[in-house]
């Protein structure tokens, strides 16, 4: 039982990060039907910038005023930087291709991803950067399972951000415009919605979430490197598909679910199969669940069947 609770804590922490990144994929896909493969690298840019800023601001005493300064500074730099990167990628690379075949845009996104990785390699080098341990995490004991304050903060922050995003999408004019554009771009344009502004807004919001996710990942694991975005992006994309790509609630559910499946998978697969399959089948397990879900619900758990469009 204690093991199970611990694995659940592990999975929910990991899943919260996946969910935040998955939201960026799903928002862009919902509105312009593009799988933005560069999104994982926007997370990486956020993590690298945050690490650099935090390392230069962090004082000697962990937990003091300098810790908050470091975290605040990291947020203040990483969020605008990622928003600028996401916005420029859309403006420069994706907008000219908006009427081109979808494959062209997809390949362009992969190209943007490679460019971002190489720029990051030139700026920050090939070495691993470490996020300073500014917050010495308090560890709580929950009947044998351990929860660190950092894990709790990640889950709480992710939940708050997702709630905020839901409010924006369902309660504001911008959100209404985004939903209208997602339903039918041309008609929304005829109704007076400024399509370009809406699409830019989707990229800006998605990139801001990516920056926060980047800070979470690097603060939690303590590592940032220019290749880190690839795997994270792939997992988050999987989470988005699992939940139903294009659907915000789906991204959140898919992210959490993928995290929990991975943790429980690697935790129990060895014991369940009597040692026949080990924990290195963690990803196989996660993707098997994805395949099964897609067989029975081809548009994901919460995805709607919308004919050709999705």
């Amino acid at each position: 039982m204690e093991l199970f609770v611990q694995q659940l804590i592990n999975g929910i922490t990991l899943g919260s990060v996946y969910a935040l990144v998955a939201l960026g994929y799903t928002m862009v896909y919902g509105i312009i039907g593009l799988i933005n493969f560069a999104h994982g690298d926007v997370v990486m840019i956020g993590a690298m910038a945050a690490t650099m800023v935090a390392a230069s601001l962090a004082g000697a005493d962990p937990g003091g005023a300098s810790a908050w300064l470091a975290m605040g500074g990291a947020l203040a730099v990483a969020v605008p930087l990622c928003m600028a990167v996401g916005w420029s990628a859309e403006r420069i690379a994706y907008r000219p291709l908006r009427r081109a075949p979808r494959l062209a845009a997809l390949i362009t996104a992969i190209g943007v991803s490679i460019i971002l990785q190489n720029v990051a390699m030139m700026v920050w080098g090939r070495n691993y950067l470490n996020f300073p341990q500014v917050l010495s995490p308090t560890v709580y004991d929950l009947g044998g399972a351990r929860l660190s304050s950092l894990q709790a903060a990640i889950v709480a922050a992710a939940a708050a951000i997702m709630a905020g995003l839901s409010l924006v999408v369902h309660r504001t004019r911008l959100g209404t415009a985004m939903r209208a554009t997602a339903q039918n771009r041309e008609v929304a344009g005829l109704m007076g919605v400024d399509i370009n502004t809406v699409i830019s807004a989707a990229f800006l919001i998605g990139s801001a979430l990516a920056a926060v996710a980047g800070i979470m990942v690097t603060a939690y694991y303590g590592v940032a490197q220019y290749t880190m975005g690839f795997m994270l992006g792939l997992k988050a994309f999987t989470a988005a598909v699992l939940g139903g790509i294009g659907n915000l609630g789906g991204a959140m559910l898919g992210g959490l679910l993928l995290g929990v499946i991975e943790a429980l998978g690697s935790g129990y697969i060895g014991d369940l199969t009597g040692g026949f399959l080990g924990s290195h089948y963690q990803d196989v397990f996660a993707f098997m669940v994805l395949v099964v879900v897609l067989i029975f619900r081809p548009s994901g758990l919460l995805g709607e069947r919308v004919g050709d469009r999705a």
Partner: protein
Amino acid sequence: MKSDRKLQHLAAACAAALGLAAGAAHAEDIRFGFAAPLTGPQSHYGEDMQNGLTLALEEANKQGIEIDGEKANFVLVSKDDQADPRVAVQVAQQLVDEGVDGILGHFNSGTTIPASRVYNDAGLPQIAMATSPEYTDQGYDTTFRMMTSDTQQGAAVGKFMVEDLGAKKIALIDDRTAYGQGLADEVEKAVKAAGGEIVRREYTTDKSNDFTSILTNIRGAAPDAVFFGGVDAQSGPMKRQLATLGVKAPLVSGEMTRSDTFIKLAGDAAEGTYASLAGVPLAQMAAGKDFEAAYQARFKKAPGVYAPYAYDGAWNMIAAIRKADSAAPEDYLPELARLERKGATSEHIAYDDKGDLKEIAVTIYQVKGGKWEMVKTMVSQAN
């Protein structure tokens, strides 16, 4: 038809470029092929290795070594194998096609082993950083090492854990690469031979950052020590997660973890971690200290784990060529096989008949006060 013409133009341009490149090469250039991960998650190791080689070649060029009556100019031909076995074979073929005189690479065991066949077919001597026993077990006469093999290192680490740390119950983690898996297998053998017990074996991948679920399993098995076969970019976060999960058993790892990157990434949690490394500490040897100073002066930073071994490996090849007075592989290969010299990492560099290093000292280090401090030097029994 139009595209055909374009292709012809392209082909002509390529041919011209190749011709130019061939024309530009000097007759006295001695070119060494080098391949390692220069991009991707392990590129910091590749860069470290490349710097060590570059330093050796620059020193050799400054000394004005004469081969066959002409002043030799040693050149490094660098290729990126991305730590990917498939890319490694392509890159190996490219190096062979470019007609290099010897190979200083690859870095990973997983890339070195498939590439070594290509070099062996071409008769090119190869000195690699790879530590997997399989590399020199293939029966090729062209394979040599820069480092100890995992058999040598694993035997020392396994014995150290059981006899010196007094750990009876040991948990193993490996990253499923030729290196990590091989090293963990050798450690397992040594632990069992010394009377210890493997209570849990877990696996991860070489791209993972999150180990909490496998570490939770390991915590359940309550081991006395945890051994990890893998890279520092992973052992750093792993050590942090062990601390968060409240596992008090020390982490023990191979030479890839014995780096400053590990200490940086693990932060305060790094204290008490053990790692092994071939040879004796650089600071204990005159040539080692000279190497450190020269590296610092040339690259403006301290050498990483692999730079000194790469440096020695390059000098081994240069020394063999000098002795044979020829850069033709068939001339200097026998000299390399019976080479004996003093290097920065060892007083007695010599190869056995398989191409493994004869000196089998392995030093165990521990993080104390944020620095790697030597614990003890062991002579490994296995070979």
